[in-house]
């Protein structure tokens, strides 16, 4: 078990965005989180990664509590994330974007910057090497000197993945990595997620709306509705679960009115 969530509850005033949710993620697995819009998926991610403070519950990452830690400490512990709405450093180059991931794996400070001792130079080279390796892994090495905002949307998504990989995570949280991608890009994304797990040994936990993608890539699925976990299991189990069907169909009927 790489991540264990127990009874996690997050409230915004009167609204309970995450309601007593418990689940675990096994080391080396690919797990998906699905649920209708506004179900609390992103909120749950934000609690786990330190961006929101849950009022109740416990989150253990490799046995250590991450409940009261700041996001950068959690990243340092080996949990990386991407954002639902791309959050690249838009005006910086792709290279610089990806180099940001190595920040928490390096240490040069003020003195290193000004005096440039050999240790600092070696560290800079290591940062560049890792960044290049990550860009190569996701297939955007060619674009390394371009400004991030000038890339196509699909490529920007890859930059965000490369950037997260550069933090050398053990667990990678992806918030709707397929959103806005076309069919071909989604096929490539599925392959990429598999390679992240198989070649790098990184556990993946993703939120996704595209059922095709979810069924294809994930071993376990876990369903959230109105902040509450309503089902968990394999793709087939979840698909046939009456509660899940109701949550999705119910929403569609409402939307149709």
């Amino acid at each position: 078990m790489i991540l264990g969530i127990k009874d996690l509850t997050l409230r915004f005033g009167g609204l309970t965005a995450v309601n007593h949710v418990s689940f675990t993620i096994e080391q080396g697995s690919i797990k998906s989180l699905i649920g209708p819009n506004g179900a609390g998926k992103t909120s749950l991610f934000n609690c786990i990664t330190g961006f929101y403070r849950a009022q109740e519950g416990e989150a253990l990452f490799r046995g250590d509590s991450v409940m009261r830690l700041k996001p950068h400490r959690i990243t340092e512990m080996g949990m990386a994330r991407t954002f639902q709405n791309l959050r690249l450093f838009k005006n910086l180059t792709v290279m610089e974007n990806v180099m940001s991931g190595m920040h928490c794996r390096t240490s040069a400070g003020l003195a290193g910057a000004v005096l440039r001792p050999p240790a600092q130079r070696a560290e800079e080279k290591r940062i560049r090497d890792v960044a290049e390796e990550c860009m190569d892994f996701v297939g955007i090495l060619d674009a390394k000197n371009r400004i991030a905002k000038n890339l196509s949307y699909g490529d920007q998504r890859r930059v965000e993945l490369a950037r997260a990989l550069a933090t050398k995570p053990q667990l990678l949280l992806l918030d709707e990595p397929g959103a806005g991608l076309n069919y071909d890009e989604k096929v490539q994304l599925i392959e990429l997620i598999r390679r992240i797990r198989d070649e790098k040994g990184i556990t993946v936990f993703l939120i996704e709306h595209d059922m095709g993608l979810v069924m294809e890539v994930s071993e376990k699925i876990f369903v959230l509705d109105y902040g509450t976990k309503i089902a968990e299991g394999t793709a087939r189990e979840v698909q046939n679960n009456p509660k899940v069907i109701e949550a999705y169909l119910g929403k569609e009927e409402e939307a149709a009115v």
């Binding site: 961006f51 950068h72 920040h103 290193g112």
Partner: protein, 337 residues
Amino acid sequence: MSDKQINLQIAATQVTAIQKKIQSVIDKLFDLLENKKIRYSIYAVSMAALFYLPQKTSMYVTEIMTNVWFHVVVCLGLNIIVGFAGLLSLGYAAFFAVGAYTSGIMILRYGISFWLTLPVSVLMAVIAGLAIGVPTLRLRSDYLAIVTLGFGEMVRLAARNMAITGRATGLVGIDRPAFFGITMNKIAHFYYAFLIMAVLATIISSRLQNSRLGRAWRYIREDEDAAEAMGINTVAVRLYAFIIGSVFGAIAGSFMAIKMTAISPDSFTFTQSVMILLAVVLGGMGKIPGVILGAFITVVFPEISRGIGQYRMLIFGVVLMVLMIYRPQGLWPEREL
């Protein structure tokens, strides 16, 4: 389409063609500067010229150029906060007030050597940087600008009302120090002191910009949440910007105290802070050569336009407004990527 419209269109295409040409020339120049030999020769020649300058020009020019170097140091200091880290600050004069008063008080009241006051000045700058940085950790640009403005005024008002800072009269008769036996009493001495500081400030700025810390500043400037998610301690990175920026200002302030031999609260007004910010924005936030250019223009323009009389600042203001509308990124050009 009428003739007029056609003519306008032709004019417009000509303008873009000219812009393209200029950009291609700029890109070529940048390519040229990539060559280390060429770059270092340019540095060497200009340094030699600048060291020679006081011997060849009048005291008036030397005085103005000394003022330029002083402004280069403070502008580069503010540039770390505003340009590198993207933290809008409107109270920068407070930082060089801290340096000037620290040195002034120690020399005048306790007879301590100027050179020994410098480390204390740095220490006070660190404290001042933390004093403004810590309470504003959660604030974003507009609110931060207001709080820093208040901070600047607080420091000035404190200096105005405390006995140790000499209240409204300030400190008068600060002794000038000796440097290897030579008393610093000529303008040329200060010219060299400030030139050396400006060069050091430039080198330090440029090394910071191309370092892990410099990148971290760019990350928080672009997107603080994303930076935090990438494992960057945004609190520490922010404080570093305030502290280093503050130290630049305080050292410049310490030297200002001995150059002027008298300082008063009126030397550190809001207008001062705004002029420094203006120089940074004018030249191009975050771009070191741009900031140096901005410092140069804001000092030299009011001098060379003295003939115009009292309207010169008005003209300066209008020119600035037009410039900011058409070139918000500042005067210094950039290579297209």
